[in-house]
């Protein structure tokens, strides 16, 4: 995990930090906010993952059973991850996280099936990267299935570059440090 990765020379962004509210392509009002650690938000996120289509799992994540979902989320929170959630009222529609990995962060994003292809993923990514940059994060990486062209296209549009194309999963990386933008 701590092996050297290449990062793009150009800093991505800037990204607006959440909270951010917008209307998605299905006409729903969606708000993106940093996760507040309350029981209500925790349970809403658990509920989202319990409803998650197993066909959209990636590399074993999210886990399949509620007990495993809870212990996986607890693990993320204990590691000091930065989390943002996309809300449709009190329903968690998406969750994105930056998990500390040495002096870098591993990124992952999940959008509930009923909320996919509505522009929420892009806004959630921008919200997470804005929140991360505000929190002092610079180097960020993620892994993505090489067949998942829509996701790879989204990450590239946001400023991620391919850092490892030789293993099963493709790795991409970005730098997001606030204040380093030239333009």
């Amino acid at each position: 995990m701590s092996r050297d990765r290449d990062y793009p020379d150009v800093v991505a962004g800037p990204f607006e930090a959440p909270p951010v509210s917008f209307e998605d392509r299905a006409g729903r009002t969606v708000e993106i906010r940093p996760y507040d650690g309350s029981d209500a938000e925790y349970e809403a996120v658990v509920e989202m993952y319990v409803a998650f289509d197993p066909a959209d799992r990636a590399q074993g994540i999210p886990p399949g059973s509620e007990a495993r979902i809870r212990s996986w989320l607890d693990g993320l929170l204990e590691k000091g991850s930065l989390n943002v959630v996309a809300w449709d009222g009190e329903t968690a529609a998406g969750h994105a996280t930056l998990v500390p990995d040495g002096d870098t962060y591993e990124l992952a994003i999940f959008v509930l099936q009923a909320y996919q292809e509505a522009g929420i993923g892009t806004r959630l990514m921008r919200g997470l990267l804005g929140y991360g940059a505000d929190s002092g994060v610079d180097r960020v990486w993620l892994s993505v299935e090489r067949w998942n062209k829509p996701a790879i296209g989204l990450y590239e549009k946001l400023g991620f570059g391919i850092s490892d194309a030789e293993s099963f999963e493709m790795e991409m990386s970005a730098r997001i440090a606030a204040g380093d933008h030239t333009g």
């Binding site: 995990m1 590399q59 074993g60 994540i61 693990g75 998990v99 591993e106 892994s143 293993s167």
Partner: protein, 122 residues
């Protein structure tokens, strides 16, 4: 069943060791353990070999332990075919900080090249 267990030394290797040895004891498998002889490995080859010996002793079974040079994946596939193994068992991957399963190059090579059944131990 004639089983070839490949150990690279990662956390997933040690889990594969424990479970494959226990299964061999239960099922009466004829087990051979191949350890990658990488001078720079951490844990060292000798450490991994000691782990293998103590797991075998704890399960009360005998197994040949071999050190293999070079590329573990290609060595496992070659040995399995040349010596009539029924199955190759290897570690099923490490997990990233956020819990994603990641397959290493050994697992990828063995999965794509082996003509015998492969167990990825989770």
């Amino acid at each position: 069943m004639k089983v070839l267990l490949g150990l690279g030394g990662g956390d997933d290797s040690l889990r594969a060791l424990e479970r494959t040895v226990n299964r061999a004891a239960d099922a009466g498998d004829d087990l051979t353990v191949a350890i990658l002889d990488d001078p720079g490995a951490d844990p060292s080859v000798a450490d991994v070999e000691r782990e293998a010996e103590s797991a075998l002793a704890a399960a009360g079974i005998d197994a040949e332990i071999r050190r293999v040079d070079g590329d573990l994946g290609s060595e496992l596939v070659t040995m399995a075919e040349a010596e009539g193994f029924d199955r190759i068992a290897i570690g099923g991957g490490t997990t990233s900080p956020m819990g994603k399963i990641q397959l290493g190059s050994t697992a990828e090579f063995v999965l794509l090249n082996s003509h015998v059944t492969v167990s990825l131990v989770r």
